[in-house]
């Protein structure tokens, strides 16, 4: 047997949180290695040139929740970090009806006022309130959350601090937060808008990646979560990384290496090794062993607690909790290589409308019906689509003249009733194409190639259980103090030296890096560093 390599820290999983975690630990002088099962790092944030010249953002495709501290502290600009502005949000409706919201608030006012003057004013009020809400929540996104089961005075104090913080909040902000935790997004928006197209545009953030419809109460919190990001300091805005989200994770990998850490691909981990409740290393799928006193799982909670280690070695209440976690992926992707830009009737030649998100989901009813199909165990016959033609922003994403289009599809349940994804994948893509053709006549004629990603593919390729893009639903019972489980929301596990840093921990999913950063803080503080 080979003498095994030894490290201070082994990070299992080279998704963006694993890389962030490793970069911080390497920066602190720990001998750190990231082990990635696939041939490239990035997890769900990758870019792949599947056909020559066309760069596909196979899974995640935009950035907003990324903690700005990470960009600073890991010196990411030096390593190629560059997020480009999304100039417009385009919401097509029926019969040529549409909304294009861009960078000038006054122009946006008039654009919404075409549909309703009062809605235009309401949008200003709501946007301002969302910004204030996001700012209020930010400090709690960026710190290790209190442990609500602990009797340690530090934790009791932290919980108290949280209580006082909430009490002291601006009542309007607190009211919106409370609404988001108790009401559906449709209900919340009812208080602001009268126009369906506008409600639908705002509502879409409430269903992204989650098994809930806009009229389900879970959608309020999902919506809130998606509003917590920023682009270039603009609350709630999104950007597009140069070269796709894979460009971002490549920059992260360079940062890890620049701080002296190692990144190893094609290195799947079979088991985490531990003795007497103390971690000692990992066993790779190729049979080799790496040693370390700290092992960090960047995988989702199901993998962290029930695959990498023996669940029987863990407290039963924790294992029960993990087994009851909701994953239930409901999102798919169909990415297109296009010969040219799609055409929306009445907006011919307006390429700039695609420089941002294009939302197909023209009414609350449309979104709700899409969800009802999912509840019946089918993918939506008319899905909600969140599209992005990234080559209109970054010309290097496609060959000159052609385009690449990322298309996020809801709903596509992980478990299909009376069928399976192997037989349905092409049907899903056909449905997406026909939906797009309904809004963009002739769309199908532009398609050179399509990449189909079902929830099962997400699970198999990325390793996210049931294809849940957030590594666990963003529901109230699975967030903040309870992510991934009450008492185990501070990145530690019952095994000494074994930590968790994936999106299944606080603050949660999306390309935020928050879990990786906070877990690093916890590890360093436990080591007295």
């Amino acid at each position: 047997m080979n003498r095994s390599e030894s490290y201070d820290v082994i990070v299992v999983g080279g998704g963006h949180n694993g890389l962030v975690n490793a970069a911080y630990l390497a920066k602190s002088g720990l001998k750190t290695i990231v082990l990635e099962r696939r041939y490239l790092v990035g997890g769900a944030a990758i870019t792949e040139e599947l056909i020559p010249g066309f760069k596909f953002t196979t899974f995640s495709y935009a950035i907003s929740l990324l903690r700005p501290e990470i960009v600073q502290e890991l010196d990411l600009v030096k390593h190629g970090f560059m997020v480009l502005p999304m100039v417009n949000t385009f919401q097509p409706g029926y019969h040529g009806e549409h909304l294009i919201l861009g960078s000038d608030p006054d122009v946006n006012y008039h654009e919404i006022a075409r549909h309703s003057i009062e809605d235009a004013e309401a949008a200003q009020d709501l946007d301002h309130l969302i910004s204030r809400m996001a700012r209020a929540i930010k400090p709690w996104m960026d710190r290790i959350p209190p442990n609500r089961l602990s009797s340690d005075p530090v934790e009791v104090n932290a919980l108290n601090e949280l209580k006082v913080y909430l009490e002291d909040l601006d009542p309007e902000v607190l009211d919106l937060i409370e609404k988001c935790t108790t009401c559906s997004i449709a209900e919340i928006l009812e208080g602001y808008f009268e126009t369906d197209l506008i409600k639908a545009m705002y509502a879409s953030s409430g269903i992204i990646g989650s098994r809930c419809g806009p009229r389900d109460r879970e959608s309020g919190l999902v919506w809130l979560f998606h509003k917590l990001g920023e682009y270039d300091g603009l609350p709630g805005s999104w950007g597009f990384h140069k070269g796709g989200n894979g460009g971002f994770t490549q920059a992260l990998a360079r940062s890890v290496e620049d701080f002296g850490g190692k990144v190893r691909t094609n290195a799947g981990v079979d088991k985490v090794l531990y003795e007497d409740g103390k971690v000692s290393g990992v066993l790779l799928q190729d049979g080799s062993i790496l040693k370390a006193n700290v092992v960090v799982s960047a995988l989702d909670p199901r993998q962290t607690f029930t695959r990498l280690v023996e669940p029987g070695d863990l407290p039963k209440d924790l294992v029960d909790c993990i087994e009851n976690l909701k994953f239930q992926g409901t999102a798919a992707k169909v990415n297109f290589a296009l010969s040219s830009i799609p055409t929306f009737p009445g907006l011919e030649g307006r390429e700039e409308i695609y420089k941002g998100f294009t939302n197909i989901g023209p009414s609350i009813d449309y979104l709700q019906e899409a969800f009802e199909d999912c509840e019946n165990g089918k993918f939506s016959r008319r899905p909600f689509l969140d599209c992005c033609i990234q080559s209109t922003i970054d010309p290097e994403m496609s060959p000159p003249g052609n385009h690449i289009m990322s298309c996020f599809v809801m709903y596509a349940p992980y478990h299909l009733k009376q069928s399976d994804w192997k037989s349905e994948r092409e049907n899903l893509a056909d449905t997406v194409e026909s939906t797009l053709t309904e809004f963009f006549p002739g769309f199908s004629d532009l398609v050179l190639h399509r990449e189909i990603v079902t929830p099962q593919d997400i699970e198999e390729i990325v390793g996210l259980s049931e294809g849940n893009i957030f590594a666990g639903e963003l529901f109230k019972s699975q967030l903040f103090l309870d992510r991934p489980a009450p008492g185990w929301n501070q990145y530690r596990t019952p095994i000494e030296g074994y930590y968790q840093c994936g999106s299944g921990t606080h603050p949660g999913g999306c390309v935020s890096g928050g879990p990786g950063r906070l877990a690093a803080q916890q590890i360093l503080s436990d080591k007295g560093l």
Partner: protein, 414 residues
């Protein structure tokens, strides 16, 4: 009515904002699109197109042209061979800067020079004083429009239209054709990125504009206004006359005047000890150096990100990041026991979206100008003056290899 540049009818078509400003008496757009960021990022992400025609342009011909320019310009014109360009400046006889500009030798013995302000009479006066009879100095400002094509994809655009791009090194100039129109192309710019500036006859303006837009279409070519330009030039550490310094010509007192050393242009004087050039202001410039008489230095400042965030957050408001560019003077103080201990000022301030840092061009007393020196920069937070920590840092702030790299036929891939 202000004048319009040769490209104006095209500019008018694309100016979504309807906003115009004046630049040397010409109508120019501060920004064409609603998204300033989109224009700004085109310089770093794809390729931008900017109309800089309002610059003053002068031509110098005749055997004495070189003699005259050697007398006027700070940098040694002897090194500006045919097909080369120089970024340079010129001073008054007390060694204070009059202007900066780009000079290029477009044909043997024929030089072109850009300037921000009129200077024909001055140049002719110097020639007369020197008794030079074999030099013709002309104001050719309206004989050319200038387009600046800047950004990582600029090479691919110019390659589609001309055959010369591969051989054009940094600060090279060449006369060539674009869609049959004679143009002069230099590998220069005011963005700190890969780029070209193209001198175009007014009659050809539309054809060349259309050709560039056409060739750039697949590379996301983006016409940009003057605001995006001013933002990126801060990242490039390039000074703007009227903002970062003033011409000595209209100064009232010496504290408004600056020397090349004080502006950070000491590099223009490389090799001075070994040449006998007699340029205007040489004596003063040498004396300044000898006696260490520079009153201040122009440096880059990087604001501490955490303090910047905290200062606004503490006041309960969002730290301004998005499209923050300012030409208002901001005071700088020494850090120490004394509060508000005035040291100098920042003349340009940008919250760089690219670099994710607030940066500034500043004037500081020499003892504070070592890289890493810490100072306080005054920023208004809900109208109240607050100090944030800033550090002297290397300028340019952004300096990608592609700016100066030789580009072979393989393309501008990084």
């Amino acid at each position: 009515m202000p004048l319009t540049t040769p490209f104006h009818s095209r500019l008018e078509e694309i100016n979504q904002t309807g906003i115009w400003r004046h630049w040397s008496g010409y109508l120019v757009a501060p920004q064409y699109q609603y998204s300033l960021s989109n224009e700004y990022y085109s310089v770093r992400n794809s390729v931008s197109l900017l109309d800089t025609s309002p610059l003053f342009k002068y031509s110098f011909t005749g055997i004495d042209a070189k003699v005259l320019l050697e007398r006027i310009l700070l940098r040694d014109i002897g090194h500006c061979e045919v097909g080369k360009a120089h970024y340079t400046c010129w001073c008054d006889d007390r060694g204070f800067v009059l202007q900066d500009g780009v000079v290029m030798q477009v044909n043997s013995g024929e030089f072109w020079l850009t300037a921000a302000e009129p200077t024909l009479r001055y140049f002719r006066g110097v020639a007369k004083e020197m008794g030079l009879s074999e030099v013709i100095i002309e104001d050719v400002s309206s004989d050319f429009g200038i387009l600046s094509l800047q950004g990582p994809q600029a090479y691919n655009v110019i390659r589609e239209l001309t055959g010369v791009s591969g051989t054009l090194s940094y600060f090279d100039v060449v006369q060539t054709e674009i869609v049959g129109c004679s143009v002069t192309v230099s590998r220069t710019g005011y963005t700190g990125d890969l780029g070209y500036e193209i001198w175009i006859r007014p009659d050809d303006a539309m054809r060349v504009w259309d050709a560039l837009i056409g060739a750039g279409e697949d590379f996301n070519i983006t016409p940009i206004g003057t605001t995006a330009l001013k933002m990126v030039r801060v990242e490039a550490g390039l000074l703007l006359m009227g903002t970062d310094f003033y011409t000595s010509r209209f100064a009232w007192v010496d504290s408004q005047r600056e020397t090349p050393h004080e502006l950070g242009w000491g590099w223009m004087l490389k090799g001075l000890e070994n040449d006998g050039r007699d340029f205007i202001g040489r004596g003063a410039v040498e004396k300044e150096l000898e006696m260490g008489r520079s009153r201040w230095k122009t440096v880059g400042l990087t604001v501490d990100w955490q303090e910047y965030e905290f200062t606004y957050t503490e006041a309960g408001i969002l730290p301004p990041h998005h499209e923050v560019y300012s030409e208002s003077t901001m005071s700088i103080y020494r850090r120490g026991s004394k509060d508000w201990d005035y040291a100098g000022y920042a003349s340009s301030f940008l919250v760089s979206s690219l670099l994710k840092k607030p940066i500034a061009i500043a004037k500081l007393p020499v003892d504070l100008t070592a890289i890493g020196s810490e100072v306080n920069l005054e920023i208004p937070v809900i109208r109240e003056p607050k100090n944030v920590l800033a550090r002297v840092s290397k300028m340019p702030f952004f300096n990608p290899p592609r700016k100066t790299e030789s580009l072979g036929e393989m393309g501008a891939h990084e």
